[in-house]
Symmetry: C2
Subunit: 207 residues, 2 copies
Amino acid sequence: HTNKNCIQRMSRYRNALNRFKGLGFSKIFSNYLADAVGSTSSQVRKDFSLFGIYGSKRGGYSIDCLIEQLNEILGKNELQKVVLAGFGNMGAALVRYKGFSKEGISILAAFDIDPAKYNKRINNIEVLPLDRLQPFVQEHQIKIGILGVPEIAAQHVLDLMVAAGIRGVLNFAPIQLKCPAGCVVNSVTLEHELENVIYFVNANEKT
Amino acid sequence: HTNKNCIQRMSRYRNALNRFKGLGFSKIFSNYLADAVGSTSSQVRKDFSLFGIYGSKRGGYSIDCLIEQLNEILGKNELQKVVLAGFGNMGAALVRYKGFSKEGISILAAFDIDPAKYNKRINNIEVLPLDRLQPFVQEHQIKIGILGVPEIAAQHVLDLMVAAGIRGVLNFAPIQLKCPAGCVVNSVTLEHELENVIYFVNANEKT
Ligand SMILES: NC(=O)c1ccc[n+]([C@@H]2O[C@H](COP(=O)([O-])OP(=O)(O)OC[C@H]3O[C@@H](n4cnc5c(N)ncnc54)[C@H](O)[C@@H]3O)[C@@H](O)[C@H]2O)c1
Ligand SMILES: NC(=O)c1ccc[n+]([C@@H]2O[C@H](COP(=O)([O-])OP(=O)(O)OC[C@H]3O[C@@H](n4cnc5c(N)ncnc54)[C@H](O)[C@@H]3O)[C@@H](O)[C@H]2O)c1
């Protein structure tokens, strides 16, 4: 079944396929694709079959065909509009990043409660007062939000976003959020990502 | 077996246990802990048994005991020294963040190739020229690095880190890195984290 890990792999397959295409390849076997992303060829075939994607035994998969199907699955065929709450250290880094627009992801506005942050225009994005979030989200029909606010504000701002019509949120605050029905929350906790590295470094040292 | 997802859960269990302890609880059953992190009670028991952690059928687990064992597993009992390469948007956000030191993780120095970044001191951290990375890592016996450099530089800087003695890296560059033997690379690709949210928002809309 499709879960977060499966979709993460689909994103990685797509990146690898774009690289192979750039190198002039037009067909690929599942074992090459598996190697390129650190997966296994049976996992590749299993993931693709979940989306009705099949290759031919002799010729493998057509790279153009795969890219087209993955673009469809990952929402790459239309502009993905996003709003950000919290224009602090993390929020400012995300707003300044040019890599998102290359992937068809566009942060349209940032919201904050600190008046010192208003009337700034960074990368053509305005920082607006938080009470403008609801009308902005409704006017632009935005479904995706990013939480760059402190822990203590995260649940409240998530609830504001969902009430405004947001249906999926990328959260950086290191707390467990209660997610209203019909909304998806994907938390990236950088403290835990570092703990992960620390654990395996220590484990490798012991063996 | 212990993989990245398992250790991610251990980090989340530890966070939840600290919250329960703060609320005055001293014992906990696996189903309460599972609910708090969005897992299942059999997954909790399975994860804990991998580390030789068992509770009693009637009394559940002792919260203090669990926290002590998880602190040991996740390297919380000693200061974790880290270096950062790339003092750009992302690097500056990470250096300024006070949340890492609360978790016993300390960025000791940042390295960059842009002379305009040198001689800055942020959060008591110096930005040094890249050619100082190797002597600094060896002098301070640092095992953990963070890559905040552009894609085109990421593989080169990873190789420099590993040559200097780094054994685990948290990478933000959205490329697949070749990881030398004996080194762990944990890549956080924020483009993919957003694609994940986008996929499930679209999937929910279709049902
Ligand atoms: N900076 C990092 O590298 C980093 C690393 C790990 C986790 N995080 C997490 O990311 C989040 C943001 O971190 P940061 O370093 O950018 O913090 P920050 O303090 O620099 O920025 C927070 C911003 O949110 C704004 N804010 C506060 N309450 C708000 C509300 N109710 N509505 C809208 N805006 C509000 C503040 O005015 C500020 O501009 C935090 O939850 C933090 O724990 C950050
Ligand atoms: N900013 C974000 O929100 C964001 C989001 C997703 C991914 N990323 C990734 O994180 C990385 C950093 O992004 P950023 O926005 O901070 O970029 P940036 O351009 O703002 O900063 C990059 C920094 O790295 C330095 N640098 C370049 N080559 C170097 C080298 N060989 N050694 C040491 N330093 C070097 C530059 O001088 C600069 O200070 C990139 O790989 C980017 O794709 C960033």
